[in-house]
């Protein structure tokens, strides 16, 4: 397997409480990996270790390694803003920045000074809005506040904004759970379209979504990774009793 992310002996503590216990997994390149498991088992926590968001919460402790392309992102010489440029995040609820639709897409490219002139920025904005399937709906209102969009549109804007900084990995923590069915489907199809070019890691609570999206599956329970493997194998022939129980308990 061509692993894009490798997690080695990862332990995470919130204060004294241990949230991840000796996690060792590999996330395959240019596939969609879904993380499943009951509420509170540590899915969000695991995802947050991939873009170093864990350190935004006080009192967290982390041991072990998270390697992206073979480089430990917790090494001293690593620039956290570079990590987050390479590892993008699609949050559970869309959070448009307090600026226009257009400026939202440009924000990341601006801070990383990725383009040369205004024309290039404009073309890039259009390009990423098209990829996110939003261009047709917003081309005539690019300078309206981003908050004037519907929630589903806002989530696609956040996708466009995230892709615009040219990440290699996209993380999604239940990225469709706040959306209506049509918008969820829309986001799902985008993720499937994009998977050839990006390594995608999605946390989901719905088994159906996991089956629709997943190429690779990680099942967690009480802070431990119980089972990880290609989707077909895990869904059709789970090795572990707990995984089987979880899959059967859900419809």
């Amino acid at each position: 397997m061509d692993a894009h992310i490798q997690v080695k002996n990862l332990n995470v503590y919130y204060g004294k409480q241990q949230a991840l216990k000796d996690v060792n997994i590999e996330i395959p390149k240019n596939q969609i990996t879904v993380i499943m498991g009951p509420s509170g088992c540590g899915k969000t926590t695991l995802l947050k270790t991939f873009n170093r968001f864990l350190e935004l919460t006080e009192g967290t402790q982390l041991t072990g390694e998270v390697l992206v392309d073979g480089k430990n992102i917790y090494d001293r010489d690593v620039d956290v803003t570079e990590v987050r440029k390479v590892v993008g995040l699609l949050a559970q609820r869309p959070a448009p920045l307090p600026m226009s639709i257009f400026d939202n897409v440009l924000y990341g490219m601006n801070i990383h000074r990725m383009k040369k002139d205004r024309r290039e920025y404009k073309d890039a904005a259009r390009h990423y809005l098209e990829i996110a399937g939003l261009w047709d709906e917003v081309q005539n209102r690019l300078h309206d506040p981003a908050t004037s969009l519907s929630i589903g549109q806002q989530q696609r804007l956040c996708l466009a904004r995230g892709l615009a900084v040219e990440p290699e990995i996209i993380l999604g923590d239940e990225p469709t759970s706040a959306l209506d069915p049509i918008s969820s489907q829309n986001i799902e199809s985008r993720l499937i379209e994009l998977k050839q070019q990006y390594t995608t890691v999605i946390v989901t609570h719905t088994l159906r979504q996991a089956k629709r999206l997943g190429d690779y599956v990680i099942y967690m329970y009480l802070g431990e990774v119980i089972e990880a493997g290609p989707a077909k194998e895990v869904f059709n022939n789970p090795q572990h009793e707990r995984t089987r129980a979880y899959l059967e308990g859900q419809i």
Binding site: F53, A91, L97, P98, M99, H112, P145, T147, V165
Partner: protein
């Protein structure tokens, strides 16, 4: 369809009607008093308002009805309020940020907020007396600088608390969204926090300015009063609220009329400031996330 008609005499409907009535009466009293105040100031002040009044300093015998104007007080008040607001801003922005970032809702944070609220409630004559006592012990005389300092004291709690409320409403999601794109903390502060907060901070500053420019009691002892336009921070200065006060207490009817004109000028300044702040924050508000 009788079952759908409102049972007007049911208790809950009576309560609703009564409450609505009370609210309308209160609204009428508030709006009515504002209207009445403006009406009186305009009707009594407008006749004696002239170009001379806003463009000249008092000439000899002004206070007995002779020529001149109150440019000294207009300029003095603008200096005082602008200086006080600037000084208060220099201190309140860091205090508000410190409150949010380091104290938060901790016990100390609550103490600081409580003391600011108490300071807010202290009558301005007390600030004036405090400033006066301080100046005597330092051997200072009434001056523009002393007036600015005391106004800064008065404005500080208002501005800090208003900013504190604004900063506390900053959604964490926004910071996280910007950080997730690879922003540094400074970029988040500069490009996201300020954008989101600017309307609220503008309002806080203008709130302070409004209180500062209208205050008479505190500048009475600290800034003094003079017929000249101040040329240095160490000179005393006139102010509009005191110009109103002195002229209204004059035995000469025409001077009293000019007192109303001075009140009109002060009211116009305050209205211009509050309307432009409304306009400004509506413009800045366009993109903020609710």
């Amino acid at each position: 369809m009788g079952f759908l008609t409102k049972k007007r005499w049911q208790r809950r409907h009576l309560v609703e009607t009564f409450m609505k009535f009370i609210m309308r009466v209160s609204l009428f009293i508030v709006a009515g008093s504002l209207g009445l105040i403006l009406w009186i100031v305009v009707v009594r002040g407008l006749p004696s308002l002239s170009w001379e009044m806003v463009s000249q300093i008092p000439k000899g015998g002004y206070y007995m009805g002779k020529g001149g104007g109150i440019l000294n007080a207009i300029i003095g008040s603008l200096y005082l309020a602008a200086g006080g607001t600037l000084l208060a801003m220099i201190f309140s922005v860091p205090i508000a940020i410190y409150l949010k970032t380091y104290l938060g809702d901790s016990k100390w944070g609550q103490y600081v907020r409580l003391s600011l609220d108490v300071l807010w409630g202290i009558p301005s004559i007390v600030y004036g007396a405090f400033g006066f006592a301080l100046m005597i012990s330092l051997g200072m005389r009434a001056s523009l600088l002393a007036g600015i300092i005391i106004l800064a004291f008065i404005e500080l709690p208002i501005m800090t608390r208003a900013m504190d409320e604004v900063i506390r409403r900053m959604p964490e999601d926004l910071e996280h969204a910007a950080l997730a794109l690879g922003s540094t903390k400074f970029e988040v502060a500069l490009r996201i926090v300020t954008r989101q907060m600017l309307p609220g901070i503008t309002t806080a500053i203008l709130l302070g300015f409004g209180r500062g420019i209208g205050d008479a009691a505190s500048v009475l002892f600290t800034a003094g009063y003079t017929d000249r336009i101040p040329t240095s921070l160490m000179r005393p200065t006139a102010s509009l609220p005191l110009a109103v006060f002195f002229q209204l207490s004059s035995p000469y009817p025409e001077v009293r009329e000019r007192g109303y004109a001075a009140a009109l000028i002060l009211t116009v300044i305050v209205l211009v400031v509050s309307f432009s702040s409304r306009w400004l924050s509506a413009r800045l508000n366009k993109y903020t996330v609710k």
